[in-house]
Symmetry: C2
Subunit: 198 residues, 2 copies
């Protein structure tokens, strides 16, 4: 429409989950319909930028020195779950199936996007592993080639020369999943990861 509008529109469009049309709706809402909300949003963004950061221990989001999971004394210090993003951490937390600690590596190795291991949050992982408290590492990375490569890198470089037990989350038919509608790769994963039925 005009420069300041287009700039806001293109900035919003880059956010995850927002397409061109939804970004346009938000622009119009903030500029034409509810201008007072724009100031609230600027304030909330500035406050969050000032107070929220990455936890220096695990890479999760935190307000304060370390995050609530790192500070929780009831967590099992000997088990560490490695995840790609804070979103993945929250999803696993919601499942309630993990009581150990986390480490967020913020991405996956992707030669096509020029993301090498040096861009990931792996240095702090190495220093965490050095104190010897961790006996088990669970790689909760996605089921694709880039995540597979990242798992291999962590196993062969970061965890090399340690006696830590390494596992990767299971792949197979999702909960409620139907065999008829599952894709071939999922079925292959599911058949390969079969367990004895007792």
């Amino acid at each position: 429409m005009f420069p300041a509008f287009d700039k806001l529109h293109s900035t919003l469009k880059q956010l995850p989950g927002l397409g061109s049309r939804s970004a346009e709706r938000i622009c119009i809402h903030l500029l034409a319909e509810r201008p007072e909300k724009l100031d609230q949003l600027v304030l909330a963004l500035q406050e969050a930028a000032q107070h929220v950061g990455r936890c220096p221990v695990c890479g999760n989001l935190c307000q304060g020195e370390t995050c609530s999971i790192c500070e929780d004394p009831t967590r099992d210090d000997s088990r560490l779950c490695i995840v790609e993003s804070v979103n993945d951490l929250l999803a696993i937390e919601k499942s309630g199936a993990w009581k150990g600690r986390y480490h967020v590596i913020h991405g996956r190795i992707s030669p096509l996007k020029s993301i090498g291991p040096e861009s990931l949050n792996l240095e702090s992982l190495k220093s965490r592993l050095q104190n010897g408290a961790i006996h088990e590492v669970l790689l909760a990375l996605a089921n694709d080639i880039e995540s597979e490569a990242t798992c291999h890198y962590i196993q062969e470089v970061v965890l090399a020369d340690t006696s830590i037990t390494i596992s990767r989350i299971g792949f197979g038919l999702p909960s409620g999943g139907d065999i008829t509608y599952a894709d071939s790769l999922t079925l292959r994963n599911a058949l390969e990861s079969r367990k004895s039925f007792a």
Copy 2:
């Protein structure tokens, strides 16, 4: 999660089209993954707030004194299309079916939401109508009870004692619409607004 995060989350959640989960994704994206985008967003919002406003003539968004549609000399000054929002104006513009001017009233009368005619952009509409250049008004408001009430108000109060031709956009089967799947009200509208087929 923690105060500054929750505040940003709840502010984002109020924007149109953003639910709790998508607002959370944007928070995490801006705070954990791409903090430089947060500053860009704050800047774009502040610039837009400073430079973009409502056109004093028609209520459309503009950067500068009046909007691009009001400034366009090729538009038909004698026809005025009244819309509820800038979104509706853009949708009609995209159709290419209207070459007159617009007037955005920014809402519809809704007693349940305590929105009376005084909250709408009707004063500037009255003064636009006074100079006598407008001969036709098209009410391009939605097909529901609140918009119907708004149409009646405009017809009976704003346009009272004028000789302006008033019309309302047609209602019926949408383009590509199937009679089998159309709801009863749409079919009723479609039957009522039947035209001679020549």
